[in-house]
């Protein structure tokens, strides 16, 4: 993982801690629904807060299933 992706992961972890109360370690392999136990309200919150944090819009993304997918999606948008 590149250093940028590491920073993105840290940023997501910060958002998850602040807005979802997630206290564990955040690894790219974790699945949002199954492992982070996000219901629809929480996943909306995560989406919006991650967007605010990184100042990106993810609404053209499809199939973000894992934390790693989310990192990749944000990285793509930051490159634009």
């Amino acid at each position: 993982m590149s250093s940028t992706e590491g920073e993105i992961l840290d940023g997501i972890a910060e958002v998850a801690r602040a807005h979802l109360g997630w206290e564990g370690e955040l690894r790219p392999g974790l699945r949002l629904v199954e492992d982070l136990e996000l219901d629809s309200l929480k996943s909306l919150t995560l989406a919006l807060e991650v967007e605010n944090h990184f100042r990106v819009y993810l609404d053209q993304e499809a199939g973000i299933v894992t934390v790693g997918d989310l990192v990749q999606a944000i990285a793509r948008h930051l490159d634009d």
Partner: protein, 583 residues
């Protein structure tokens, strides 16, 4: 001037009020405004394109948009062609899309949608759903419609105005078909509750999704009928930043703004004082609370917390309704503090009698029937029950659905001689309705309806679960802020009890993935434990009743974390409170 009896007529009349219209607040709280005449003009352009593409009166056209001006271009454009709009919800931005595709395809097929109109971004994600449903005229954005002058179509009061789903589901979607007559009658009833006067000109604010009956029928149509102002906030902005809702009300001096119970709780839990700087909620006269069971301590918590910012305690107005009646059925008095009474628990549970008891369970009144509506409380043989007896709630009135579209059997089950069987249980006391249990076929969680069938269907595939032997139910525990979800499953024969906790874990995960719901309890039971009807169907409400009474199995929480309090608060709220305690 004759009063319009169609939404098209209401739109044409609203277009005579150029000073008002719809405002759209975005996540940065920037505002775009569209006056009613402009909204009509934009809709006419879409109508011309739809007609050119082949849409005709009597068709159903689905529309899938977030909260944005284009929703209204599409919605009113469809109406102007004489077709019925079917608003469906856009995909969630994180997580799996296959579940969404299945659900959307099922809903498109259930209404036999001839075309789908969607936002450009949503459209890119619709492929799999469209592949399955294959709408005859395809999926278009308003920008890709042909350019053509609209041909005026005569729309009648009996034509379908709208098809809405009481709960989105793959397994058994029930499209509620509403005529213009019904929708307009409901809209006028709502507006009669907040007449302009005494120096107050009403205006609305809403973060409710536009594919939700309370958002579209409860907020947009009353503003349309009056040519009034309405400010709209995207629901995802509210969920992440509830303060935006209250700030918007203050900023525009909005007088009417509804929300389900959970939203009021979310505000109390999530909004920080500094986010409320300069906010004055004094303009907010009507804070409707409906769509899910009303928890008295949530109302009190909201009054107490936001009184500091001018919130009028009497503004909170518990209401009751259901999509099959278009929206509202009963309303509390607008200018009165909400009413709750305490009733003896055992008398309610055992003999279905409402006996007042100062130490009993507190239930909030949802008020009296709307003008023109009549309630009946009946027993299982359809005999009327007297005041204070718990029974099934039947309603008739001017805004009943035509039926479930293409589902004559389901319609016949719900509608008899104009009486709608709500499926809910309740009683009347002092002329007001008290609901004791919501419909057995709907799970109402976080303001949205879900079908228990969908949850049950999803857990069927879990290894160790006896096929077809699951039941999902939701209820409002005493003293809780919102409904909790419980899933009962029977283990497959010869499954060791040692495996039960593991099965429960998998069931919870599958439910989250399939329905986006986090079960508060999963109860794994030995085969044959769940109560059944003579024909072998599992009785959800009876299972819940037995479980609550400790007869089915001891109510045991899923994980120690839940034990800490998830039953009492939504898990989101809990995450917040843990965070604030941690500094």
């Amino acid at each position: 001037m004759t009063e319009s009896s169609t939404l098209v007529g209401l739109l044409e009349t609203a277009a005579e009020s150029p000073e008002c219209g719809l405002r759209f607040v975005d996540r940065h709280e920037e505002v775009r405004k569209f006056a009613w005449p402009e909204i009509l003009l934009r809709a006419r352009r879409v109508a011309g394109g739809l007609q050119e593409a082949g849409v005709v009166r009597g068709d159903r056209v689905a529309l899938i948009y977030p909260t944005c001006p284009e929703f209204f271009d599409a919605f009113f454009g469809i109406l102007l062609t004489g077709a019925a709009p079917v608003p469906l919800y856009p995909p969630v931005r994180l997580g799996r899309l296959d579940e969404y595709a299945g659900r959307t395809a099922a809903m498109l097929m259930a209404v036999n949608a001839r075309m789908v109109l969607a936002d450009a971004r949503v459209r890119r994600l619709l492929g799999p759903a469209l592949e399955r449903a294959r709408p005859e005229l395809g999926c278009r954005t308003t920008a890709t419609l042909p350019t053509a002058m609209p041909t005026p179509v005569r729309v009648e009061a009996d034509d379908l105005a709208l098809v809405q789903f009481s709960s989105g589901t793959i397994v058994d979607p029930k499209p509620v078909a509403l005529s213009h007559r019904a929708v307009v009658a409901q809209t006028r009833c709502l507006n009669s509750f907040w007449p302009d006067g005494d120096g107050v000109v009403h205006s609305g604010a809403s973060w409710l999704p536009l594919y939700h009956d309370m958002g579209l029928i409860g907020c947009v149509f009353p503003a349309l009928e009056r040519g009034a102002a309405l400010t709209l906030i995207p629901p995802e902005v509210f969920v992440a930043r509830p303060a935006v809702w209250l700030r918007t009300i203050s900023r525009f001096g909005s007088t009417v703004s509804p929300a389900p119970n959970f939203a009021y709780g979310l505000c109390v839990d999530k909004i920080r004082d500094e986010e409320m700087e300069g906010v004055d909620l004094g303009s907010w006269r009507v804070a409707l609370n409906g769509a899910e069971p009303v928890a008295p301590q949530v109302l009190r918590g909201f009054q107490k917390r936001f009184g500091r910012w001018g919130f009028r305690p009497e503004a909170l107005t518990p209401v009751y309704g259901l999509s099959e009646a278009t929206l509202a059925v009963t309303f509390s008095d607008i200018n009165r503090l909400f009413t709750s009474r305490r009733f003896d628990r055992d008398a309610l549970a055992d003999s279905g009698r409402a006996v007042e008891d100062p130490s009993g369970i507190e239930i909030v009144s949802v008020g009296r029937p709307l003008p023109g509506f009549v309630l009946r409380i009946v027993d299982d043989e359809d005999h009327d029950l007297e005041q204070g007896r718990v029974g099934r709630v039947l309603v008739r009135g001017p805004s009943m659905m035509e039926g479930y579209l293409g589902r004559p059997l389901a319609t016949a089950e719900a509608l008899h001689d104009g009486w709608l069987n709500t499926g809910d249980l309740g009683f009347v006391a002092g002329g007001e309705l008290y609901i004791t249990s919501r419909c057995k076929d709907v799970l109402i969680l976080r303001g949205r309806n879900h079908s228990p069938v969908e949850v049950e269907y999803a857990v069927n595939e879990v290894e160790g679960v006896r096929t077809g032997c699951a039941a999902a139910a939701s209820y409002l525990p005493e003293g809780a802020d919102g409904e909790v979800l419980i899933v009962f499953v029977e283990a497959a024969a010869e499954t060791s009890e040692v495996r039960y906790p593991g099965i429960a874990d998998v069931v919870a995960r599958v439910v989250r993935a399939a329905a986006g719901l986090d079960p508060d309890y999963v109860e794994v039971l030995p085969p044959g434990t769940l109560p059944r009807t003579s024909s072998g169907k599992i009785r959800r409400l009876e299972a819940l009743r037995q479980w609550l009474g400790g007869e089915l199995a001891p109510p045991a929480p899923m994980t120690p974390l839940r034990l800490a309090g998830a039953v009492l608060r939504s898990s989101l709220a809990m995450a917040r409170s843990r965070r604030s305690r941690g500094g």
